[in-house]
Symmetry: C2
Subunit: 223 residues, 2 copies
């Protein structure tokens, strides 16, 4: 059975995709170049797609810098060494990003005849983004049934979030069980030209915390 999996080049989407593969899905990976500051992640997405043995890897471009409003898609600064326990939605939030990404995944899924979409969101050890929550995903599934020809014909689209209850450490442990090479991935929001992680953005901090709690050395640090 085919699934469309959103693949960013980070470790969450890699793990979510690997879980879907182990569940028997044939993966069709979708990567979006959206004008993100860390466009370096696209290169990681290609490596990850190859490692996963996907059926097809589609890259689409939509320049969300035209919309802006986020530290990832404008010149706004990426926060450094932020308190991750602060209950705020940080400036790296990209307005409507997962809605846009899931919409594109839905369109492709319909064309492929797939009814399953996989996304690596999780609502623990994450950045407080509203569009990573289970209630958002459930609302998208309801929308998908109404939005499509397949839905009118009776199909239900399912958005799989295999990591939704996982901490970052849980994800890393699970990836270890699946034999994933996280050295292929990148997480940093504000990498240098050669993709070197800054070590201070939320995404670097969450990654470091996850590896620490999982008791695993991040292979990126061994480079």
């Amino acid at each position: 059975m085919k699934a469309v999996v959103l693949l960013s080049g980070g470790l969450d989407s890699y793990t979510a995709a690997a879980i879907a593969k182990s569940d028997g899905f044939a993966l069709n990976a979708l990567t979006i170049q959206y004008g993100q500051r860390h466009a370096f992640e696209i290169q990681s997405a290609r490596l990850v797609a190859r490692a996963l043995g996907v059926e097809r890897h589609l890259e689409l471009s939509i320049d969300l810098r035209g919309i802006g409003g986020s530290a990832l898609t404008s010149d706004m600064e990426v926060p450094r060494d932020r308190d991750l326990d602060a209950a705020i939605i940080p400036p790296t939030y990209v307005p409507a990003r997962n809605t846009i990404f899931l919409s594109l995944a839905l369109g492709w899924a319909e064309v492929l005849g797939a009814r399953d979409i996989v996304i690596g969101v999780h609502a623990r050890d994450y950045s407080g983004y509203p569009d990573c929550r289970p209630e958002f995903i459930a609302a998208f599934e309801r929308l998908a049934a109404l939005a499509t020809r397949a839905g009118v014909e009776g199909a239900a689209f399912r958005v799989h979030t295999p990591l939704v209850t996982f901490s970052k450490a849980d994800i890393i442990r699970r990836g270890g069980d699946l034999g994933l090479d996280y050295g292929l991935t990148t997480s940093c929001y504000d990498p240098s030209g050669e993709g070197r992680p800054c070590g201070h953005c939320d995404s670097c901090l969450l990654r470091a915390k996850g590896f620490r709690e999982a008791g695993v050395v991040d292979p990126l640090l061994l480079r």
Copy 2:
């Protein structure tokens, strides 16, 4: 009050935008170049945006030919002289198109501080597209509240569909009342290089039927 209005270059979105303007909204027009066969409509969208006096006209590009699956975004043929009363979803249906477009409008609305989105869908004298129905729009509004920072903070996004109960003739009559120049618009799905309408696609047929029923001459025919 600001609104984001999806503007295609066709007469429906022009009329919907003009109604929103007459209701007091300051218009921010969003036009999507999505790899459509009738990319000529982008030129019309620019003329329409100028005629409407929009605050800003944002054009975004996302090449849905990578996804395909529609006569508008692939080499599949556009049906000619089809029976418009046949209750099918025709091959010009673009998978998830309005979901993608509304998602982009939502992101831009959030950045602008707008809570209102305007789209010219109607569920009479239309092409049977699932993502033009009121139940789809209502589901998108529910999603928008969950998808965004603004929603988490208590804002409700409203998707206005001022034409939803209108026939094509109703739209044209209303546009006449508002003094709109439909000579600026284009509707054809399969125009020649200079934008000349084919006269046989669903969109040309619906336009001709609408003008006929409204008792108005299509200004495009006077060229």
